[in-house]
Amino acid sequence: MQRRLSQEDAAFQQRMRDFFTTEVPADLRERWAAGGEPDPDDMRASQRALNKADLAVPHWPAEFGGQDWTMLQRHIYLQEMQAASVPPPLAFNANMVGPVIAAFGSQAQKERFLPPTANLDIWWCQGFSEPDAGSDLASLRTTAVKDGDEWVVNGQKTWTTLGQHADWIFALVRTDPDAPKKQMGISFLLIEMSSPGVTVRPIQLIDGGHEVNEVFFDNVRVPADHLVGEVNKGWDYAKFLLGNERVGVAPVGSIKRRLADAKQYAAAVQTEHGTLLEDPLLAARIAELEAQVMALELTVLRVAANSREGKPDPASSILKLRGSQLQQDVLELIVDIAGPAGLDWSTDDWEGLAAPTYLNFRKASIYGGSNEVQRQVISSGILGLRG
């Protein structure tokens, strides 16, 4: 056991820090740090800057921009990226559809889709959830029926994050309605959002933003070669994707960034006895969060080091569960620091953003596998508690 970074890793850390703080424009990073609704242009600019330096998709195969990094290096990369408030590569591209196409797509699909996916020339969104399915993904009812060399898609997806900016959607569709189990008979289909019959309706959330959408498919015709892998095997690819998604899911760097912000905010609020940062109860809560976030970061590192290539460790559920809790705790803390100043949402300073951001991130324990689902994965998959 060794606390310090090896010389090689320390140099790697320095290289990442230098890159993120000098090669990604400062104004872009400042806008990202301020929070609020993400600007798609900034996200594209950031991912392209990263991709140019081969830093957008380091976990992909080498021929499509991947790097042969250790898990520790991947963590350092993410940590430094978030510490510098660099908008990360779009998860739908880098962590979801990209790895699926790389692992299961045809050679033609790889060549066609992977380079623009890495460069965010294609903006992907995810078409998994449906209105009456929720966490029960496999109950999906959107159908694709073969008609010549096309699939004809009908149905509805929901909770499609940033779908309003998307060029393409990767969707789970039912291709065999008579399959014996509901997990069977599902396929993984790539659909261009500009196809006739695709409609996007933004859903307003309680913070006023519109980051999620409903997507409707009305006799949308999709070329047959846009089906990834084998027909009716989509559930396997979805499970692979969700496993990958969770690996990157504990946003430790971003939680730490927010916590550092919280300290700065608290130091600027005067109380009757000094500043809020000197208030014993508030300071103890910050100290507690710092210790808890440290525990999470250490666990990310320890678990990542143990996870086998390609097979995400089931312990990634720990990270999703605890990561979302801590993220929510830190955002709640910031609302508390804002105090009465947070009652006015009309300003775009940190006080005005505090409450909407807190409310927005209640999603963190719901989306991408709710915390109840994560606990189920742990109790059943890790502890062997199968009722």
Binding site: Q204, V335, R362
Partner: protein, 357 residues
Amino acid sequence: MDFSIDTEQKALRDAARELASRRAPQHGEGDVPVGPAPHDADTWSALAEVGALGLPFAEDVGGFGASAVEVSLVATELGKAGVRTAYADALIAGSLLATAGSDLLESVTDGSALVVPAMAEPDRAWSITTSSVTAEGADDSWKLTGEKSPVPYADAASHVVVPASVEGGLAIFLVEGPTAAGGGVTFDGTAATLLIGPDNGAAALSQAINLGIVTLCAEALGAMEGASTMTVEYLKTRKQFGVPLMSFQTLTQRAADMYVSLELARSTALFAAMAISDDPSDSTTASRAKVVVGQSGRHIGQESIQLHGGIGMTAEYAVGHLVTRLTAIERTFGDTRQHLASLASTLSDHEQVDILS
């Protein structure tokens, strides 16, 4: 000790319930307003019509001679229906006007004037004992300097009531026709009327805030009840994995914990209303109620969304709006931490909390 309500109180509650259901925001498809609500003149008139605005003030100063208990009944109905108003704010202003014996109170209670307090200050934590706004002058001629922000409803207010520092302590002033900008009110040698001098300013403000806290606690109680009811209903009707959500024991056990939080908050909010009616200066009980309701509000608010899942996050569904309001109430008139700190400093005053004396 008696928690039951009499016939007159029941009638008032029913009137408030009817008013609230009539004025409740509609959340259909498409965008709706989120976050803090602007002043709504129609709702305000309706409140004035049922007599809600003068309830806790004595008849000889222009009030209706009821009490904080009646205020609570009204506020709970508003909270349950998600009707957000300046009720707690106006009552604080009203309490200060009543203490000062100001004629303006009659216009407050009949709804013709909207008077709100200007209390929060930029970059300063909530405080009711100090102010960075200063007042200079004497007799009928006072001038205020400094900034209060945010001042909810300032843009719609006919007057603001302003705690400000004077020689000798904190005094309370009235400013007519405030110029609201950027969510706050800036005073730059602004003419003001002295309502209460420094001898009694802090004490009067504390009493007024107690009334405001009790009102907010009652509104929060309504919001919690609304959110809890919706959540239970959702668990009963919504199916997942082929069975109703209520088949999942982890969800029903958590719904039980929400219910416990709600009932504890209910007892406490009602008791605080009784206590403040009995002794308006009972800040200790007000702080305890703010703590209990604050913690219940966080718990019930967060669990309501979590147990709903994604739909609870959407603006077209009411539960998120109730949680938004609970989030705001917790940071209004001092949050849980601040009231705990204030209670912590007076632990030696009593051996036990005695509610039966």
